[in-house]
Amino acid sequence: MTATLDLAAIVQQHGGDPTRLVQILHDVTAVAGYVPPAAITELAARLGVARAHVEGVVGFYSFFSSEPRGRYRVRFSDNITDRMAGSEALCQRMLDAFRIELGEVSRDGLVSVDHTSCTGLGDQGPALLVNDRAIARLTPQRIGAICSLIRGDVPLHQWPENLFAIHSHVERRDRILGSTLVPGAGLAAAIARGAAATIAEVERAGLRGRGGAGFPTGAKWAACAAAPGPTRYVVCNADEGEPGTFKDRELLMNHAELVIEGMTVAAFAVGAQRGLIYLRAEYPFLVAPLGEALARRRAAGLLGRAVRGVAGFDFDIELHVGAGAYVCGEESALIESLEGKRGIPRNRPPYPVTHGYRQRPTVVNNVETLAAAALIARDGAGAVRDVGTPKSAGTKLLSVSGDVARPGIYEYPFGVTVRQVLDDAGAVAAQAVQVGGPSGTLLAAREFGRRIAFEDVPSAGAFMVFDERRDMVAVVENFAWFFAHESCGFCTPCRVGTTLAAQMMTRIATGAGSRRDVKDLARVAGVMKAASHCGLGATAGAPVVAALEKFRPAFDHRLRSLDVLPTFDLDQALAPAREATARDDRAAHFDEEGP
């Protein structure tokens, strides 16, 4: 029944390479359900690294644990859109079925239930992960079926396949989603044009990074190509961790060859020999299809030695799976993770284009950026330049979710108004839209005339809609805890500030907040913005600050009139005693008038 854990074989499979540690820990977890302390000791010895290093990596990633978890490890996606679709009640139903608390393992070791940050299924939530499979469109019936399968100890590969179906909801196609690519066509055009001219074409197209920051792609490629050294890398950032974003999922599911073509074009342009796709662990259903796409392209001579017959153009791509860490979407943290380390953003300069993966020149591009680059290579700059705005050329994929009739992927030319997207998606009585996810921009109804573009409202792809029924304080509280959970902990402002902000938001949301909490929220957000090491901390306070400015009444009506409230709640402190004595009568409560 229980497979034996053969660490020697696993380490050998990965060539004894300590930079493969994250992948090794996935293999260990797949067999043992967790990473036993004895395995940590043995892995360190076999890989020739300090034990504490392995322990530190296990402790960093949400999907690894050095303590036993259930044989069935259930993780409910805890994004605000999952909650709006009823995830909390569904999670409770499963907890009740197994008589466990959140975070606990059932006594027989069968099952554990936890929360996880957004799983990238916002168009078909609520969603959960069980071991290395994802299940969307949860209903009480589906939860009942899952509980029965777990209780019967049915191996996952024998579960009905339809449980694992991931749907594709493309609601609007444009340049990218409407394209059909003959594999190799973009690459052929790039080779005909030459490396330098390909970079120039990407620059001429005005292509900017689609991961949110908007750095000019051509400039990035040019800097990498110019960096000294014989070895270069191209990395596809498929970490798509921003809550409410799922457009890369669609691209990798149905346009994988376009993305891989973009990577290969980038490799040709900068002179790279190796490519890596950093795929988030929440997308396990993409591992096999991506592997097949890579194999197809190898067979077609589009990857491997002498790609497309060009002597000296040797390039191949490997897949690397993340392990539940949002910060790894930051390109230097992603590189650290690729090297088998804790995903801590590096100090810059030097930048990855000169000192990236293994300290070699490295291009890191978002999935959507690479797809656009493939089209530019094939069709020239005009392929994207002819739509969009002067500063934001081309199209943008939006992941629309929340209170809309038609959630899904919408591809628009840059410059589309928020209102247009809302109308197309069938939003009724929207009071707010979170563009670009928690680290993006919170817009109130009076701002729906603003445009999705780098120069107005930039977006990493999320577009979460909240109608008038929604409590914006609860929305922002969810975001605050998201950042607290995902802070890497490297720098003081983000490590401590995200937790303080989240605690204050909960105090306010539960009616225990004071005006001092509101003041302190702004203060903490200011410290995080000014002093944080990377974008996670710098933007962590943004939703709170925006909500305080735009939805102030929702905060004020929850505050008690006192300026300062004691943080110690006497009545709450009696709760454990009440539970222990099974009492809940009036005399067991403390109230303002006295006991």
Binding site: P37, S487, T492, R495, R523, V527
Partner: protein, 242 residues
């Protein structure tokens, strides 16, 4: 161009620097104090505490990891930056369990010294009171994790200087914590020796020699005599023990 006499402006003073030198290192060398915690001149800076944050040409940067450039206009001793640093130090006090009157490092503690320098009177935020058991397993060394500010100096000293990797980090975010390199998790089972560099670099009271307590009476210690800003750049008077 102006390599021979390259300078930047720090709060109106001309500060010379060598090519590649950080703003903090150049300022220290010129006798200007910029508050800091995780910086140590013998190790490569990594910029995690952010207490040394300054404004360079209007933008905030950690001065320990930011190379100086000729003509940079750097602000440090402004009300705005003092407030920012005060909040960061308050964050650190809030995060750990810091009870100065009962701490063996009181008076020689960099965190306490910087807090005094910034005029901190309370920690302001609701303390998190983390549960951090001490490790007294080692015959000669006590580890009191309650005071750890995660500066990583012991980690850097042990790996880079001592070649031992005795210390490392695990966890993430607010659960990030110092660990030691042993399957038992106990310091006694690591290769730590009293002569290690890692024994001497802790800016707070985490790594303590046993049987050395109160060798110097409180009131006569390093920062009891002079504020931290007055003795910046001088080497620590006594290694390890207060």
């Amino acid at each position: 161009m102006t390599d021979a006499a390259a300078t930047f402006q720090l709060d109106g003073h001309d500060v010379p620097f060598a090519p590649g030198q950080s703003i903090l290192a150049a300022a220290q060398a010129a006798g200007h104090y910029i508050p800091h915690l995780c910086y140590h001149p013998e190790f490569a800076p990594h910029g995690s505490c952010k207490v040394c944050t300054v404004k360079v040409n209007g933008h905030t940067h950690a001065s320990c990891t930011t190379p100086a450039h000729a003509g940079d206009v750097v602000e440090s001793a402004t009300d705005e930056l003092t407030q920012l640093r005060l909040n960061l130090v308050q964050f650190l006090f809030t995060e750990g369990n810091h009870f100065c009157p009962s701490c063996e490092k009181s008076g020689s503690c960099t965190l306490q010294g910087v807090a005094y320098e910034l005029g901190m009177t309370t920690e302001h935020y609701s303390p998190l009171f983390p549960d951090r058991p001490v490790d007294a397993s080692h015959p000669d060394v006590l580890l009191d994790f309650n005071r750890c500010i995660l500066c990583e100096l012991c980690i850097r000293a042990s790996s880079i200087h001592d070649g031992k990797h005795v210390f490392a980090l695990s966890g993430r975010g607010i659960t990030k914590h110092l660990i030691v390199n042993a399957a038992t998790g106990r310091l006694a089972d690591t290769a730590l020796a009293l002569s290690d560099k890692a024994m001497t670099v802790c800016p707070v009271g985490v790594i303590l020699r046993k049987r050395h307590g109160f060798a110097v009476p409180i009131g006569q210690r390093r920062y009891d005599q002079q504020p931290i800003s007055a003795i910046a750049g001088e080497p620590p008077d006594e290694e390890g023990a207060p």
